[in-house]
Symmetry: C2
Subunit: 98 residues, 2 copies
Amino acid sequence: MEQPDPTIHQPVRLKIMAALKPLPAGEALEFVRLKAVVGATEGNLGAHITTLEQAGYVGVEKDFVGKRPRTRVSMTPQGRRAFDAYVGYLQDIIGAAG
Amino acid sequence: MEQPDPTIHQPVRLKIMAALKPLPAGEALEFVRLKAVVGATEGNLGAHITTLEQAGYVGVEKDFVGKRPRTRVSMTPQGRRAFDAYVGYLQDIIGAAG
């Protein structure tokens, strides 16, 4: 791997993936919760989630709780593999830096 | 720190800093050696070194060995502090991802 996966290396997307990774497989995080953790604007977060979704790294579910629309985001198995590879790449570089 | 230091987070600059960090303080790496380690083109590497130099993170020395021009690059104390903070930030994010 010559460079870190650009889909994950972008700072906001890195935070999104790091926030989703600890969740058990298939479990999702509500958009509003992710927004608080990542500290991005709604539009910015939405755009980066779409990028991750198009890459196959996250899944997005939209439903209603009563009358309130709800959006939940979860990491896909492919996303987990990509994030593990990304972390391994960074640890190689940073590890070598001692 | 809300996001990783963009001066370091850029993939080529990250590799440059990681290559320089293990060197004893003040010791420098020749441009051609850095080029091999980082795997960037001469122009690309030169541009990123200039960015790091302008940020105060690296120092650049140019001299001659006989008739051959030589360029050497070393990390500044400020660069070491910035890189340590950058690594700490990433480890927090990646560490939290478990």
